[in-house]
């Protein structure tokens, strides 16, 4: 976790809650007291020694951090470059999501909240939220699109076993964006005792910054681990998949202001960027407002938000965190769109070469080698954001195992 003030002209958020032209808090007045309370308190709470101690201890002993930075020898040989995998898939609950939910549940307790709400798409963030609520003994309500509930039955069962109430979002397209709308409506209806644990670097300021800071432990560890392994803190490239973008924000965080580090963001092209079934927001989106944030957004000419598509439920979001919109617009990061097919093949390749079954979200990042060639002595860090257990059915259906 990083609790320092951001330097000026940084790629981080400014004092008004913007990353360049993106960000802000476009929220109805009903949410203003809650979001303002969080904005006024989040940095000072994070700076408390007791908070940091508790957060660190839980990350170490409960989540299992630091996660390894693993040199992938066979994958490196195959692609003729030096590839390191940051093993977020080894976190408790199977993905990086829990770094954020641990931080936010501690924040919620400091703010005196006893009821937690969250949205979830594939169910990973829902499970990570239900987990920390069980840990802290707080009431947990998870909103999930009706369609996703049917697609992700094992995660629904996990949340219920962990004591959470799963509420179907039956409005709109009945997927992640609608689950987010429902969570926001719940917060409007419960303005005093409830904290909303947003699962990514999206939503109104200060959420994108707060979530990025909680996830920044990823790049903090990469720096230390690379120092030991390569005698340098900074890789030549850091690569991550971007849906909302929380694992990417964490992996980039400590390298944002170091121009020597190439930042690569991999989005889901679905069946092809121009196929009409895609989630490649940077390529297809225009500046707009979604879930309280001004960012790049897939929408109609008339400003109606459109439904994205990806084989990976975690990348299936019509917007992108405002930090990433700024990294794209400023040219700081290179954005690559990877199709379902390329991602699935890259996921399978990692299984065969390294004995690691990645989440399909992560498989998109692994497919970077299909479109970009690196030099032999480049150090490329891929954030292995999650494990593939949750995706077994999709892998089975796709490859007919």
């Amino acid at each position: 976790m990083d609790n320092k003030a951001h330097p000026l002209n940084s790629f981080n958020v400014n004092e008004k809650g913007y990353y360049g032209d993106f960000g802000g808090a476009y929220i109805p007045e009903m949410l203003y007291p809650n979001v303002e309370e969080l904005r006024q308190n989040y940095l000072s709470v994070m700076q408390e020694e007791a908070f940091q101690k508790e957060f660190q201890q839980l990350l170490n002993e409960y989540v299992g951090r630091p996660t390894p930075l693993y040199f992938a020898k066979r994958l490196s040989e195959k692609h003729n470059t030096k590839i390191y995998l940051k093993r977020e898939d080894l976190c408790h609950t199977g993905a990086h999501k829990v770094n954020n939910t641990i931080g936010q549940i501690l924040m919620a307790k400091r703010l005196g909240k006893d009821r937690i709400i969250a949205e979830t798409g594939a169910g990973q963030h829902g499970v990570a939220t239900a987990t920390v609520c069980a840990l802290m003994g707080l009431e947990c309500i998870v909103y999930m699109g009706e369609i996703d509930i049917k697609r992700q039955a094992p995660n629904v069962a996990r949340m219920k076993m962990l004591g959470a109430t799963v509420v179907p979002a039956s409005s709109g397209s009945k997927t992640l964006k609608d689950a987010t709308n429902e969570a926001i409506r719940d917060w409007i209806n419960n303005p005093t005792n409830t904290h909303y644990i947003i699962g990514s670097v999206v939503g109104p300021h200060p959420y994108p910054d707060m979530v990025a800071r909680f996830q920044s432990v990823i790049s903090k560890e990469i720096k230390n681990q690379l120092q030991v392994k390569e005698n340098r803190e900074a890789p030549d490239y850091v690569v991550a998949c971007v849906g909302g973008g929380s694992n990417a924000a964490g992996a980039y965080y400590h390298y944002l202001d170091n121009p020597k580090v190439g930042i690569i963001a991999v989005e889901a092209a679905g069946k092809g960027v121009n196929s009409g079934e895609s989630a490649a927001t940077s390529a297809l989106g225009k500046m707009g407002i979604i879930h309280g944030s001004k960012t790049l957004l897939m929408q109609t000419h008339d400003g109606q938000i459109t439904e994205p598509y990806s084989i990976s439920a975690g990348l299936d979001y019509p917007g992108v965190g405002p930090m990433h919109a700024h990294l794209y617009a400023s040219g700081r990061a290179q954005f690559i769109a990877i199709t379902d097919e390329a991602a699935m093949q890259a996921g399978l390749e990692l299984c065969k070469l390294e004995g690691i079954i990645p989440a399909i979200e992560t498989s998109h990042a692994l497919a970077v080698f299909e479109t970009k060639k690196f030099k032999k002595d480049d150090v490329v860090v891929i954030n292995l954001s999650g494990r593939g257990d949750k995706d077994l059915n999709t892998y089975i259906d796709y490859f007919n195992f």
Binding site: Y26, E29, I188, N189, D302, G303, I305, T306
Partner: protein, 253 residues
């Protein structure tokens, strides 16, 4: 004095109706407006439908989804409202979410409203600070009133700030909730209505959210200058259509 201010100066409790443009049928916008005025409604909020209306309950969500399916767009709404000032005189406000306005172009949108004779806008997700920094000048250039919301959780200090930034009325959200008819008001709401009334704000207050019948209208307007009915009106339209308007309005007062 703008049309909203002059209407609010009248010595009666103002009845305002919200409906979603393009619902139940695409072409209903103008007939609904004419019927509302003919039946004594004092002001109308025309809802510009949005795919993700996060401050709205199920009724307005469903009407928005249907309106979009029917083909309603910003441009279409402006086409329908062309010449509306030859037909009706009551104040008209467009209420919607900020993204469609942003995509149309804020200045183009305001200009078009001015040309048509729309008097004001309610954009719940355009916050006060953003408005003041980026858009207030444009709204004022085209003589548009921007209406802000307050809720029972809004601090007195912020209410004063909103009051000084307003030039039409303040939209008092009755309780911590999204839109959608509830049954009457409890003690908390009545205390809130009285608290705001005692603040002696420069702008009149109109209460919205949770008003569905004559009783809740009377309670809401005991202290405030008027009240807005939305979801209950849309529910009525769903079953009875435009023909149901006279009876619906008559039953409210």
């Amino acid at each position: 004095m703008n049309r909203i201010q002059s209407h609010l100066n009248k010595d009666k409790k103002l009845l305002s109706i919200y409906f979603t443009a393009g619902y139940p049928n695409l072409g209903d916008t103008v007939p609904i407006l004419q019927s509302l005025e003919a039946n004594g409604v004092d002001m109308v909020e025309i809802g510009l439908p949005f795919s993700d209306p996060l401050a709205d309950g199920p009724t307005i969500q469903a009407s928005s989804t249907q309106a979009l399916k029917n083909g309603m767009t910003t441009q279409k709404l402006f086409q329908q409202l062309q010449g509306i000032r030859e037909k009706i005189t009551i104040p008209l406000i467009i209420m919607g979410y900020f993204n469609p306005v942003l995509q149309y172009g804020v200045e183009d949108f305001c200009k078009k409203c001015h040309e048509i004779g729309v008097d004001g806008l309610i954009l719940p997700d355009l916050p006060l600070a953003e408005y003041q920094e980026h858009y207030q000048e444009i709204f004022e250039k085209y003589g548009l009133v921007n209406v802000f919301l307050i809720t029972p959780q809004t601090s007195n200090e912020r209410i004063r700030e909103i009051d000084s930034a307003s030039n039409g009325f303040i939209y008092m959200v009755s309780s911590a909730s999204v839109t959608g008819a509830k049954k009457g008001f409890g003690k908390d709401q009545i205390n809130y209505f009285e608290r705001i009334s005692k603040m002696n704000l420069k702008n009149p207050q109109i209460v919205g959210f949770g008003i569905s019948n004559a009783q809740s209208f009377a309670t809401a307007t005991k202290n405030a200058n008027g009240a807005i009915i939305g979801s209950a009106f849309i529910k009525m339209l769903s079953t009875k259509g435009i023909e149901g308007i006279p009876e619906f309005v008559k039953d409210l007062r």
